[in-house]
């Protein structure tokens, strides 16, 4: 009588462990399962959404050799929706506070555009982007406005498939509020930490 009972106990414990292993694998894969679904697409970023946050103020604080005030640019947040190989993107930045108005530095920036990402390395960890934006901004105490197009070239490094760093240079061409044609080349000034969502 004892032997069957011991066998049943061992069997039940074994089944329990196996079932829980499966459960564990399911939970484990739940984080990565979605990104694995996109392996067959042209790129691992195809059909994903991306949110980028300008981390320059924090990074500049923690880098020892940077002792000056930094200009982190007008763009604070970046949102992209990637289709097969191209993305629709929105760039946004704003600082309209009484303090900044007193200092003469308030601004609003908004841009919509399309982007394409090109892998540089085989593992696609390094990539560059090419984008066209329709940009609108108001800056300074006098409210100097700008409306025009911006051609952007960016550089990206993927730490993982879901987290990557990026920076971008832009050539702005448009009309300012004084009806003057404005051409401005904006060198890369900000480091963005981007998160990919599925």
């Amino acid at each position: 009588m004892k032997k069957p009972i011991i066998t049943i106990i061992i069997l039940l414990v074994y089944i329990g462990t196996v079932i829980s292993q499966e459960t564990k694998e399911k939970v484990d894969s739940s984080v990565y399962a979605e990104e694995d679904q996109y392996e067959d697409d042209p790129y691992f970023w195809s059909y994903t959404k991306e949110i980028g946050i300008n981390f320059t103020p924090l990074v500049s604080k923690l880098v020892p050799f940077n002792l000056g005030q930094n200009d982190s640019g007008l763009i604070g947040l970046r949102w992209k929706k990637y289709y097969s190989s191209r993305a629709f993107r929105i760039n946004f930045g704003a600082n309209v506070t009484s303090e900044e108005i007193d200092n003469g530095n308030p601004f609003i920036y908004l841009a919509f555009g399309v982007e394409k990402r090109y892998p540089i390395t085989k593992d696609k960890k390094l990539a560059y982007t090419s984008a066209w934006d329709l940009a609108f901004s108001v800056e300074g105490e006098d409210g100097d406005g700008f409306f025009g197009i911006a051609k952007g070239y960016g550089f990206e490094y993927h730490i993982t498939k879901r987290i990557f760093l990026s920076t971008e240079a832009q050539m702005n061409l448009g009309i300012s509020s004084n009806n003057v044609i404005k051409v401005q080349f904006q060198l890369p000034t900000a480091v963005f930490v981007n998160v990919r969502l599925y």
């Binding site: 329990g16 704003a94 506070t97 900044e100």
Partner: protein, 224 residues
């Protein structure tokens, strides 16, 4: 033998429970329910002689309560400044008193997305509040009598806005985080001026702001 089914049931469930420890779900990212965060930016800057630019988040202390994939979040700061100076010159005296109190709070909800075993992305919405009092007086004793000027300033403010947050897990109990927010804020200030205990002037002003706050503070979070 009567306890055999219970024993079997116990062994079966316990084997499932114990073997589910290593997961990358939100439950395994946050094994503890409560989290207190302390703004460590200035400490790092001062100790490691890093960038001296000290502009950072107004909130020094945060508390979060994890509720599965969502968390209740709050932050609080309090500043109290009391000063009294007395100057003597040619037998005259001037006494200046300043009492300032600023308290700011923020509450909200956030939702989490686990990016990998070490990194978590959160997005949410906050409601903000601010109460500030600034009472100052100057008492001028010029030998012929005493004259007192008093200013009482009270500010109430409120706002709201979305936020984004990145958190890095060092261990089950220790996390580093930074966040970005887009807050709209409105405040009203009432200032009463008194001259010799007689109200002489009252002014009211209001202020409205929209600010995209980029990540510039590093919080060390401890779970319990």
């Amino acid at each position: 033998m009567r306890f055999l089914p219970f024993l079997l049931m116990f062994l079966f469930t316990s084997s499932i429970v114990f073997s589910q420890k290593e997961t990358t779900s939100i439950q395994s990212f946050y094994p503890y329910k409560n989290e207190i965060g302390i703004n460590f930016t200035n400490v790092l800057g001062n100790v490691l002689s890093l960038n001296p630019n000290n502009a950072n988040s107004p909130y020094g202390l945060t508390y979060r309560r994890h509720l599965g994939k969502k968390s209740f979040r709050s932050a609080f700061s309090l500043q109290v400044n009391n000063e009294k100076n007395r100057d003597f010159e040619n037998g005259f005296s001037v006494t200046r008193t300043i009492n300032q109190t600023t308290s700011q709070f923020r509450i909200g909800l956030e939702k989490h997305i686990v990016l990998n075993k070490r990194v978590l992305f959160s997005y949410g919405f906050d409601i903000l509040g601010k109460v500030m009092t600034d009472n100052s007086s100057v008492q001028d004793n010029n030998g012929f009598g005493s004259v007192t000027f008093t200013s009482k300033e009270t500010t109430f403010g409120g706002g709201a806005g979305p936020m984004l947050r990145l958190e890095f897990k060092i261990s089950d109990r220790l996390f580093i985080s930074s966040e970005s927010s887009l807050y709209g804020f409105y405040s009203t200030t009432t200032e009463n001026l008194e001259f010799g205990n007689q109200p002489s002037e009252q002014t009211k002003s209001s202020d409205s702001n929209i600010e995209l706050l980029l990540p510039q503070s590093l919080f060390f979070n401890i779970s319990f």
